[in-house]
Structures are given as C-alpha cells and as structure tokens.
C-alpha cells in the first residue's frame, strides 16, 4: 500500500500540458486555408502615363514612331520611310524593334534628352501585340509614350 501511494505521488508530480486545443486550432486554420485558397495566375502592372501639357523645352532628339499593323507586324517610321521590324508571330519577342529601341535610347541619353515614343496601333490589332511593344519600352525604361490615331506627319 505504501509502495502504491508513493508511485501515485510520483505520477502526480509529473507536469502535463494538454495541447489538444492547439491541435484543434491548427486543423481549423488548415481547413480555412484549404477552403479559401484558389490557384490563380498572378497579375502584374504595366504602367503608362499619358502626356500632360507640352513642356516648354524642345526635345533634342526626334520622336521614335512605331506602327503596329492589324496582323501584328511592327514597323518604325522616320519621315516618310517605313522600316519593317518584326513579323507577326505567336512569340511575344520583338528582337528587331528591341535593337532599334536600344539604339534610340542610347542616342537620347547621349544627347541628354528624354526618349519619346509615339505608337500608332491599327484598329484591328489585338491588345496583346500592343502590350508586347509597351513591354519592350518598359524594359528599356522609356516613359514618354503617346498613342496616336492619325497618320504621322510626313
């Protein structure tokens, strides 16, 4: 009898932590996340600021004029010369235009002026193609972007 009471006394001294509530909360949290989580592709932003009032300073470098045709082909225009750049394709890359933009931006930086780009997008062009051009301009940090609906000045 004395041995049993000593054993019982020893058992009573062992502290116990009841974590069953913690496990319940854990499962509740898990169920919450399982029910509310949806797998979606993440969207990002392609910023564009429309030009404000014309600045008083005159740009030292000519505006780069880009034309995006209905079929997705891209060309540049300088004066009356239209230079085809990239043909329509499923790829979002525009290697020739990118090269041209690099040269233009380099020249703008050298001359100490901000690069300015005018984009003419034909009415039947898909938005993806126009965004491909905007994406490229974003890559080269061109902020001066305007859209034009009319024929460029000759």
């Amino acid at each position: 009898m004395a041995r049993r009471s000593r054993a019982e006394a020893l058992e009573d001294d062992t502290p116990e932590l009841d974590i069953s509530s913690l496990i319940d909360v854990c499962f509740l949290l898990l169920i919450y996340f399982l029910v509310t989580t949806t797998i979606k592709k993440k969207e990002q932003d392609l910023p564009l600021t429309l030009p404000g009032n014309q600045s008083a300073s005159v740009a030292k470098i000519d505006t780069l004029f880009i034309i995006v045709e209905d079929d997705g082909s891209v060309s540049t225009k300088s004066g009356s010369d239209v230079t085809p750049m990239d043909d329509p394709s499923d790829s979002h890359e525009l290697p020739n235009l990118e090269q041209h933009i690099q040269i233009y931006v380099g020249a703008a930086v050298t001359s100490g002026s901000e690069p300015v780009v005018q984009i003419q997008v034909e009415s039947e062009t898909e938005t993806q193609r126009a965004v491909d051009v905007l994406n490229l301009l974003r890559k080269h940090k061109v902020k001066g972007i305007t859209f034009t609906d009319t024929e460029p000045p000759k």
Binding site: C26, Q44, D45, L46, L48, V68, T125, E126, Q128
Partner: protein
C-alpha cells in the same frame, strides 16, 4: 502449458490500442506553413473571363489604393470590376463610362490616393477598345494607367 506467444498475446489483449498522432500533427503544421508562405493577397478582383496579355517586364502590384478598375472583354464589352453580369456598359455609352471614371477619380482624390485607371483588357480584344477607354479617361483627367498582365503564359 500454453505457448509463450499465446501467453504474451493474452496478456496484451486487455491493453488499450493507441494511435500515435504526432506525425499527423507534424503534417498538419507543415501544410499550414506551406499555405501561409505561398498565399498572396489579391490586390484587385480578377474576372476569370478576361485573359489579360503577357508582359514579362511588368511590375508587381503593390496596393489597391487609388485603382479604378475597368474590364474589357474579348467581344469589346466594358464593365467594372464587379463583372459583366452586373455592371456592363452599353455599347458606345461613352458618357456612362466617363461618369463612372469621374466618380472614381473624385472618390480616390477624397480618400487622398493618387487615382489610377487599372485596365484589364482581354489579350484578344482589338486595341481600339483600350484606346477608346484611354481617351475617355484622359478626357476626365485620368492620365495614369496600368495594364494588367501576366508575367508568363504558363
């Protein structure tokens, strides 16, 4: 008389069966940690019916503050972020769109945020529709815009 094995089984028969739950609890914690680490808060309500274009050089969406969301569906219908079932604009109803943008602009200005037009245009829609929206936005004084885009096609 009885074999050793039989005696052992008989003595164990009255013991309680226990299931060790600790690995299950470990798995539950791991799953919670996975969900907590990978979950992203959605900045802007994304209508599944609009498949936005791909732009690898787009920037991460930072905050919802100041955004006035407009969806442009593949068939050219404009709607607010509540979706085309409840908030589609009638075709050529530029005045209603301008009123909506103006209200949004004033509300964001009152709240002290910089108003931004968040354009969720379907990649297949004609860019002329996005252009039309941009013109209406410019007419009400909304010059800062974001084009919603995915980083990759996958």
């Amino acid at each position: 008389m009885a074999s050793k094995r039989l005696r052992a089984f008989a003595s164990a028969a009255d013991e309680e069966l226990k299931v060790d739950m600790s690995p299950m609890i470990d798995m539950a914690f791991l799953l919670i940690i996975f969900f907590i680490m990978n979950a992203n808060l959605i900045v802007v309500k994304m209508d599944k019916k609009v498949e936005v274009p791909v732009a690898p050089n787009s920037i991460k969406q930072e905050t919802k503050n100041g955004r006035i969301v407009m969806n442009i569906y593949e068939d050219g219908v404009f709607a607010t972020e509540d979706g085309r079932e409840t908030s589609a604009f009638a075709e050529d109803d530029d005045k209603a769109i301008a009123d909506y943008l103006r209200k949004g602009l004033n509300r964001q200005n009152e709240l002290g945020y910089k108003p931004v037009l968040h354009i969720r245009a379907d990649r297949g829609v004609k860019f002329a529709k996005a252009r039309e929206l941009m013109k209406i936005a410019a007419s009400v004084g909304l010059k800062q815009m974001y084009f919603a885009s995915y980083v990759t096609d996958k």
